[in-house]
């Protein structure tokens, strides 16, 4: 996994899938397998976190002289 914490949910899920496949193919050394496993666990935690604490953010489109912008709005 890249050190980047900003990894998107999509990328994290894809990487998790890759790791599962790699581990299941079992061509890895024990050391590599353990490293991969650790990364996989981290990724699955990250994915779940992304799903859990996600709050929908709503912005309104406005057009001003300086072009198109957005501003935060609250809508129930």
């Amino acid at each position: 996994m890249s050190e980047n914490e900003d990894i998107t949910f999509e990328d994290a899920l894809a990487e998790l899938e890759d790791i599962v496949h790699e581990l299941e193919e079992s061509g890895l050394t024990l050391e590599d397998a353990l490293l991969k496993f650790e990364t996989g666990v981290k990724l699955s935690r990250l994915c779940n976190k992304e799903l859990d604490d996600a709050e929908m953010r709503i912005e309104q489109l406005t057009e001003g002289e300086d072009g198109v912008r957005t501003e935060r709005v609250e809508i129930e």
Partner: protein, 404 residues
């Protein structure tokens, strides 16, 4: 006051054309006496039960029309009142014609569809796939809450990890088409610096007239030109607009559009849980396999060549052993056999015959006779001797041996 005809006509012309309430007017009526002149201009009369109005639509304006006007069609014409001096008549110089009423709308719809189809607006090859996990979703919809509320509810329930960019516009009535088209264009403009992954264009159900804005060329072209993939959800399931055809995907309702656009969180959770289980299994297996390998390694740390030589030697040894065993066994067998022969010889009845004994058999069943009970007087017997047999008949039977 005395005028020339020209002077009076010009005066009337200026009076009419300078009157702001006769500029940019919209007039509802039915087309009659329609002619499309070879010059390209269109001439017709707009009429209702009480009055008539001469109309002209010049080529420059009428080539932009999305449908073909014709006699009998109910329409709304937009234009300016002008005066044609040569004939001293006032007329409506038409800039735009909108179909009015179901028949006209339906006809216009079919014509527009055919025309756009020819231009490749509905080409399936143009349809883009939607992103699996959109981070930013644009929504163009009405100001009134119901549709937006439905869409936001679905997104909140299924996958709230998104950013929503909202453009609320009018969705029916004059000018609505321009607002919708404008919103789509603005979304695209924003997306160039602040990417929007997918755009939902939605409107609640309504009559064909109410949904008509979504058949307007402006809207249709904005959807066609959009760099952001668009899901169109206009009206209910049975309502169809050109906007639906041009969009990358048509959703039957606004809520359905939301469901199509975002994945289901619960499903994803299960998927992740499944991956986690597989991870656990795989690592456990890997560890066990490593443990096995280690154990095997501990049993004998041997160089492969060495191992091969050892095997070879072992094989030789085995071969040798096998040879010895077989030979030995063979010799044993031979000995057994000769002993067996001796025993057999000793037991052979022939030996006894040689020594003067003989064997008596009952003739019919060849049973050995070793008691007087086995025969009766007159029984036929065979006596076996060394070189043959003698047939005889029992004459007399006596118990005990006589001393003669």
């Amino acid at each position: 006051m005395l005028y020339t005809v020209r002077e009076l006509t010009q005066y009337i012309k200026h009076r009419l054309q300078d009157d702001p309430s006769l500029c940019e007017v919209s007039v509802r009526g039915e087309i009659s006496n329609f002619t499309h002149h070879t010059s390209g201009h269109m001439y017709f009369t707009l009429k209702d039960e009480h009055s008539q109005l001469n109309c002209v639509m010049f080529r420059g304006a009428n080539t932009k029309l999305a449908f073909k006007p014709g006699t009998g069609l109910k329409v709304v014409c937009s234009g300016d009142i002008t005066v044609y001096e040569k004939r001293g008549v006032y007329q409506l110089t038409v800039w735009d014609i909108q179909p009015d009423g179901i028949g006209a709308l339906y006809q216009a719809f079919e014509q527009l569809k055919a025309q756009l189809s020819e231009r490749g607006f509905f080409d399936p090859a143009r349809k883009r796939p939607l992103p699996l996990f959109p981070k930013t979703i644009g929504i163009v919809t009405s100001r009134t809450g119901a549709v937006l509320h439905d869409i936001l509810n679905v997104i909140r329930r299924r996958f709230p990890a998104v950013r929503i960019i909202l453009a609320q516009t009018r969705v029916q009535g004059e000018g609505a088409a321009a607002e919708i088209a404008g919103a789509i264009e603005q979304m695209n403009k924003l997306s160039r610096t602040d990417p929007i992954d997918v755009l939902i264009v939605a409107r609640g159900g309504g009559s064909i007239e109410e949904l008509w804005q979504f058949n307007e060329l402006k809207v249709v072209e904005a959807v066609f030109d959009s760099e952001i993939p668009i899901v169109s959800a206009v009206g209910h399931e049975t309502d169809v607009t050109i906007c639906d055809f041009v969009a990358d995907l048509r959703a039957p309702t606004p809520s359905a559009a939301a469901e199509i656009v975002v994945p289901d969180r619960e499903q994803l959770r299960q998927q992740i849980a499944g991956h986690k289980i597989r991870l656990d299994h795989a690592i456990r297996r890997t560890v066990e396999m490593s443990r096995d390998r280690l154990a095997r390694a501990e049993r004998g740390v041997v160089h492969p060549r060495d191992r091969i030589n050892q095997l070879r030697q072992y094989l030789d040894e085995l071969t040798r052993q096998m040879h010895t065993t077989v030979t030995h066994r063979l010799q044993l067998r031979r000995k057994d056999l000769s002993m067996l022969g001796a025993t057999l010889h000793a037991l052979s009845p022939l030996n006894h015959l040689q020594r003067g004994y003989s064997i008596v058999l009952r003739a019919p069943d060849r049973a050995v006779v070793n008691t007087i009970d086995a025969v009766t007087a007159g029984s036929d017997l065979w006596i076996l001797v060394t070189d043959g047999k003698i047939g005889c008949r029992v004459r007399e039977i006596k118990e005990g041996w006589d001393h003669e």
